[in-house]
Amino acid sequence: MIAKKVLLVGNFGVGKTSLIRRFVLNEFSEDYISTIGVRVSKKVVEYENETIKLMIWDVAGTSGNEKIPKAYFLGAHAAMFVFDVSREETYLTIDENLQMVKELSGLQNITIVGNKKDLLTQKELNKVIEQVSVNIDLITSAKENDNVEAAFMQLTAQTLN
């Protein structure tokens, strides 16, 4: 079995931990317990006839252009950048933030995920998509289990590139 290290980054409170929790345990909680430092979870997935052990690093959220310790990125095979579709400040400077993540990690492609879809109407959502200056890979809801599996599958695919 091959093992891969993947990372979730983004502003604090955007739902990184919730996405992982939904993906790994199929659970969701309304409580917000901010992640401290970094927490590691594991899930074994099947992808294109390959069994892959994903070690998922859930990095504490940042604010503004606060730096993530470089050590966390070492040896990462893929990374997901999560923002909150209901909070402008989590995606307005996404360009810069992505650039920083790319530099720190040395990864070319980052999976970009807009979470908390359930909080907006389709109309509002369209507006957000227009505002975000980069290509969003998936719009998810950890709460309603919408697109979460797909987001992690895309991340898995990136580990194999």
Partner: protein
């Protein structure tokens, strides 16, 4: 006397350590900032009288509450000494280690002296033929035999587990490797400059030593009292093992083969 293997499934020690390291700070910070925001709101909205009172409180806070706070902190530290020590260990690690080592050496010397004075000539001769172990070590070793509980060979960057050995029952080796690497990254990032590696972590009866190599690190958890001879020997064996692995890197992608090698080189011999 046979020792029972340590069971790690009940609680994740690494998680515990991490929480200890960080949880309280964050919590305290959050509640403090809430309090400050609350005070500021209050000051704006309530009558000037309240304002005055708050100002007075702010200014004379140390005078009014200083003693109480000092007392509370003292009590807290006293009541949670273990936690304080554990939380501080990675930070203070090296300093503490130095101090402890020097104290223990002193202690060992004094024990040696006593033992030498009290033991019969026969005993001394017997020990003489046993080799380089000193008297205190002999006594200590019989009581607290050092045992290798776990071995992890971990890819340095990614924290992915390449191979392992376990005497008891460990929760989930992949998770332990990941968390250990995360703690290591965190500690190294936060408390030390480049080129310095975290080397020892101690919790409860476990002592975890980390030996760093270029692309892997080897973490070994031991129980019992680790005397100098045991440590030296272990360190030699670890170096040998690492040499073999790094010369033939195919070990790193073949877990079973690596596990066998670990067993042969560290446990069996």
């Amino acid at each position: 006397m046979k020792k029972t293997p340590v069971d790690n499934t009940k609680d994740n020690r690494f998680e515990l350590l991490r929480e200890l390291l960080l949880a309280e700070d964050r919590e305290k910070f959050e509640s403090l900032s809430k309090e400050v925001i609350f005070r500021e709101k209050l000051a704006k909205n309530v009558s000037p009288l309240m304002d005055e009172k708050i100002l007075d409180l702010r200014e004379k806070f140390p005078e009014y509450f200083g003693d109480t706070i000092t007392e509370t902190i003292k009590v807290q530290i006293r009541d949670s000494q273990d936690e304080v020590v554990e939380a501080l260990y990675p930070i203070m690690g090296k300093l503490v280690k130095k101090a402890i080592v020097s104290e223990i050496t002193k202690l060992t010397e004094s024990v040696n002296k006593t033992v030498k004075e009290k033991f019969s000539i026969q005993e001394i001769l017997k020990r003489f033929f046993k080799g380089k172990k000193n008297d205190a070590d002999v006594v200590l070793q019989e009581v607290f035999e050092p045992i290798i509980e776990e071995v992890f060979i971990i890819e340095k960057d990614s924290g992915l587990l390449s191979g392992s050995y376990s005497r008891g029952n460990i929760a989930d080796k992949d998770m332990v490797s990941g968390m250990l690497t995360a703690i290591k990254s965190f500690a190294e990032d936060a408390f030390s400059k480049e080129g310095q590696d975290l080397e020892d972590i101690k919790f409860e009866t476990f002592q975890l030593s980390i030996q760093n190599f270029k692309s892997i690190y080897i973490a070994i958890a031991c129980s019992g009292v680790l005397n100098a001879t045991f440590k030296e020997e272990l360190s030699d064996r670890i170096n040998n093992l690492a040499e073999i692995i790094l010369r033939d890197r195919s070990y790193l992608s073949d877990e079973e083969r690596l596990n066998t090698l670990i067993f042969q080189k560290l446990i069996e011999e």
